[in-house]
């Protein structure tokens, strides 16, 4: 286990190196003079020159890249021009709502997706199967942000059951936090449940065709026991993989959902940074989310070993 873990962690190094390089190169994709674009048309040549020096943009590219690496390794993501504080501080301040939203919608996605897939597989070809898979197809096709708007119209504007937008920290007022979180989490989670449902269904179908399931049936076990105890556990590995992928997609989806529901998380941070041309913040947000994605994948790989003892990494 330990050598496997070590190898798996070492394999992250090149991936993260590419991630940091891409984030670094972003500034150099700005057409024309990046500093001129950042400071706007009113900046004096002296200001432009000073900023260029402060950012190190007057140095050769490889030197800039090395400096960027060393800064990132020390946890220094630069200074936000607009928020007037280090990028890491801004990220920490805005991380909680995004984390809460991502986790809440992951729960919704699993709660909808896994049972739907299993029920569809257990009753293959039935009306249930068709209905659930039609729902899954719609979940894939209906844009999450548009679904959110329709939910706001229906549940907040028309029925008045839930607040239309806003956020309260779960640590400050759990009940209010839950009320604010229901619509964003359900609309984001529903879209992602579709993928989980499809994969769960096909893995369950495969597991249900195995010999040990036939043996279990022959022993006289109930349908429920066969489905849940014998087939489900074996179908779990690919399902966990897809849940890992889902989590990464949810981080991206959370950005959009935050804008719809006015949630002060990383999504709103990056969008306002884009509009204000606050590039260090843009770089910081995508660096952090990509790193989170890589780490989630690592966690999923490690989880496999615990779920499926047949997997032994030599």
């Amino acid at each position: 286990m330990t050598p496997y873990l070590l190898r798996r962690v070492l394999a992250l190094v090149p991936v993260l190196a590419v991630v940091v390089t891409v984030v670094f190169l972003l500034i150099h994709l700005i057409p024309g003079d990046p500093v001129g674009v950042m400071l706007g048309p009113d900046a004096t040549p002296a200001q432009v020159q000073a900023t260029r020096q402060a950012l190190g943009l007057d140095r050769p590219l490889h030197e800039q890249l090395l400096k960027f690496y060393s800064r990132v390794l020390r946890g220094d993501l630069g200074q936000s021009y607009f928020l007037d504080r280090p990028v890491t501080t801004a990220l920490l301040e805005r991380a909680e709502p995004t984390l809460v939203l991502t986790l809440a919608s992951l729960l919704v996605a699993i709660a909808i997706g896994v049972p739907s897939g299993i029920v569809a597989a257990a009753h293959r070809g039935s009306a249930w199967d068709r209905l659930l898979m039609l729902g899954a197809l719609l979940g894939v096709c209906v844009p999450g942000f548009w679904l959110s708007l329709n939910f706001i119209y229906l549940f907040a504007v028309r029925l008045g059951w839930l607040p239309a937008a806003g956020y309260t920290s779960i640590f400050a007022d759990p009940v209010a936090a839950l009320r604010y979180m229901v619509l964003p989490a359900v609309s984001l989670g529903f879209s992602q449940s579709a993928l989980i449902a499809r994969i769960s269904r096909s893995c369950m179908l495969e597991a249900l065709q195995q010999d040990y399931v036939r043996t279990a049936r022959a022993k006289g076990l109930s349908q429920g026991a066969v489905t849940w105890i014998h087939a489900f556990r074996n179908a779990l590995v690919p399902v966990v993989t897809v849940i890992g992928i889902t989590t990464a997609i949810l981080i991206g989806g959370a950005v959009v959902t935050e804008i719809v529901f006015n949630i002060p998380g990383l999504g709103r941070l990056i969008i306002s940074a884009v509009l204000r041309r606050d590039y260090p913040v843009v770089q910081g947000v995508i660096l952090v989310t990509a790193t989170a994605y890589v780490l989630i994948n690592l966690a999923v790989d490690i989880l496999y070993v615990f779920i499926d003892p047949r997997i032994r990494y030599e």
Binding site: V18, G253, V274, Y279
Partner: protein, 282 residues
């Protein structure tokens, strides 16, 4: 049976698939709407008409008007042009880039190591966030959206082509072609690429769908095509501000977006089932 029959057998199989037919049918409607947008729109989608703002759907304005008095039907019809342009061009560019990178990586081991690490790194970014960051650097505009989405989605196609190439290059007929002294490029075009067409078509329809959705998301977030250009994402964004008074502004472009996504997903599912039965979901 004539000799040409097996060659076209796959076409007949595809045409008999219900998902493909329904998907293509819906897509054809959207394409027609985009082609004759000038004819079927009732108003100039860019003309502001403040006295007529937020009108509910009527005979004069089929789908109502938005907060600036623009006709939503005309906006939706014209918006299909941006969506299709972005979707189709992104699909073509990612296919081209994916084939070049995938072939190179699948064929040359040294290149493979480097290219695949870069692809892994690019795929570590949540797609929409990388697109947002690229838009932040390049600024708003249709071609910048296409550039950003092509960068985001090319690694997926490259990985797919690479894995196809790795399988095909070990087959006997490729080994035979090599033994006969054919050059790499000749083998790539004559023997390997034709085998990639199926997976490319399947992947292409999904990327088409992703790109249309991503374009709308970027527009909705205000970092895609400029707000003055009628696009589904932009109209949904303007509908967000007036959702209490006028739900129709965001409703109808969203329906168009959903139908386009549905058509391409059906098309992709159907193509996958017929062209690559191994991937078929039972």
């Amino acid at each position: 049976m004539s000799e040409a029959a097996p060659r076209h057998a796959w076409l007949r199989r595809v045409a008999a698939n219900r998902s493909v037919v329904v998907g293509l049918g819906i897509l054809a409607v959207v394409v027609c709407a985009a082609l004759v947008a000038e004819r079927i729109s009732t108003h100039n989608p860019r003309r502001l008409d403040p006295p007529n703002r937020l009108q509910s759907p009527s005979a004069e304005h089929y789908l109502g008007t938005d907060e600036f008095g623009r006709d939503v039907w005309s906006l939706v019809v014209h918006g299909s042009r941006v969506s299709l342009l972005v979707g189709l061009t992104t699909m073509l560019l990612t296919s081209l880039g994916g084939v070049v990178i995938g072939l190179g990586a699948g064929y040359y081991r040294r290149l493979d190591l480097l290219l695949m690490r870069v692809m892994d790194g690019l795929m570590a970014f949540p797609a929409i966030l990388l697109a947002i960051a690229l838009m932040a650097a390049r600024g708003p505009g249709v071609w910048n959206v296409i550039f950003a989405l092509s960068v985001v989605y090319t690694p997926r196609t490259a990985m797919l082509i690479r894995s196809t190439v790795l399988v095909i290059r070990e087959t006997d007929y490729v080994q035979a072609a090599r033994a006969l002294g054919r050059r790499d490029l000749g083998i790539a075009f004559r023997h390997i690429l034709p085998n990639c067409v199926g997976p490319l078509l399947v992947q292409g329809s999904f990327i088409f769908a992703y790109a249309i959705l991503a374009e709308a998301i970027l527009g909705f977030l205000g970092v895609g095509v400029p707000p003055s250009v009628p696009s589904w994402g932009n109209v949904i964004a303007s509908g967000k501000n007036v959702i209490r008074e006028a739900f129709w502004v965001s409703l109808f472009p969203g329906v168009a977006l959903t139908l386009s996504g549905l058509s391409l997903n059906l098309l992709g599912d159907g193509l996958r089932d017929t062209l690559d039965p191994r991937l078929r979901v039972p």
